[in-house]
């Protein structure tokens, strides 16, 4: 009678103060959906391991959160995913890091825990292991979202000293003698010929806060 589930959906991203009612509604919907999915598992007698995996998968499949489908971009324009899971009963644990092709990294972590003698696998080796164990493999472009891509461009622009948001802000200083760096380095993301990347859904209307993930 004590079944309980607790979730988190990130930190340092958008706050209530700077989100629209529609954005807040969208976040609450997915968070509630994640809770209900995990609760359903627990109510039916499922294990806590089953519950946390199912719950995290909901959030991984949503473009709103920095995990799975909504993952941020690295400097090289890749979406590199990390995940871990631990069983409190046995102290078994599994984790993956730097993977780019496994749709649900949390399931990969659980597979490492349950179907290998190891605790952590990284990169292509972890992906190969996941593939051999029958996990769903996707093209790296599945993880592409326009909002996250734009965040990367902003971050790089900031690194180069040209923050797009600040370019529209009045300054006290005189114009520099040399032209400001107004163009950020463009990172290319592999896309299928003829348009949007495979698995591309409608771009989220959400943008990251100051912490860039």
């Amino acid at each position: 009678g004590r079944i309980t589930l607790v979730i988190h959906g990130g930190a340092g991203t958008i706050t209530r103060a700077n989100m629209t009612p529609e954005q807040e509604k969208a976040y609450r919907e997915v968070l509630n959906q994640a809770l209900q999915v995990g609760y359903g598992v627990l109510q039916k007698g499922g294990t806590s391991l089953d519950a946390v995996e199912a719950t995290v998968r909901v959030m991984e499949d949503s473009p709103l959160f920095n995990a799975g489908k909504g993952a941020v971009f690295t400097h090289e324009g890749r979406n590199e995913l990390d995940a871990s899971i631990m069983d409190g009963k046995t102290l078994r644990a599994g984790s993956v890091a730097g993977i780019t092709t496994v749709r649900n990294p949390i399931t990969a972590a659980r597979t490492v825990m349950e179907k290998s003698e190891h605790v952590m696998m990284v990169g292509p080796g972890a992906e190969q292991f996941a593939k051999e164990k029958g996990l769903q493999i996707v093209e790296p472009s599945y993880f592409y979202t326009e909002a996250r891509y734009n965040q990367l461009q902003k971050a790089i622009a900031k690194e180069q000293g040209a923050v797009p948001d600040q370019l529209n802000t009045p300054t006290k200083a005189a114009a520099p003698a040399t032209a400001p760096a107004t163009e950020s380095k463009k990172i290319k993301v592999k896309q299928k010929a003829g348009g949007k990347p495979q698995g591309y859904l409608e771009p989220p209307i959400f943008t990251e806060g100051r912490k860039y993930g």
Partner: protein, 133 residues
């Protein structure tokens, strides 16, 4: 970063964390999420923990295991242990938050940064989603 901790009807705890890392990261940077004992930990004798925030600080403070150790060795209650550890992260200069759950079904969700989305659901179906601030 997203995560979940759960207690099932058999009294077993579990924790899970998943992340895309940090925008514009380089050099194969790995944060705390996949590091057992830093971002994720579960032990039926103490608690289940999942963390989110500035990973390097959570690694240095071995946050998830630190909370469990406070409970295990210091006999601290979950909430006190979690708050003490998140305070330690802040002292180091890091920010973020965590969720925790013990075997009695007590929950904690301390954080020291903005935009922490949290939620819980209890045995009777009572649930709440919180977005700060």
């Amino acid at each position: 970063t997203v995560g979940a901790v759960a207690l099932d009807q058999y009294g077993n705890l579990a924790a899970a964390t998943s992340t895309g890392g940090m925008t514009n990261k380089r050099y194969g940077r790995v944060g705390d999420a996949p590091i057992i004992g830093a971002g994720t930990y579960a032990d039926n004798q103490s608690c289940a923990i999942s963390c989110t925030g500035w990973g390097e600080y959570f690694i240095r403070a071995t946050v998830a295991r630190d909370i469990a150790a406070r409970m295990e060795y210091g006999k601290q209650p979950l909430q006190q242990a979690a708050q003490a550890t998140i305070d330690k992260v802040a002292q180091l200069g890091g920010d973020g938050g965590l969720i925790g759950l013990d075997r009695q079904g007590n929950i904690t969700m301390p954080f020291n940064s903005e935009g922490m989305y949290r939620g819980y659901i209890k045995a009777n179906g009572q649930s709440e989603v919180l977005i700060y601030k």
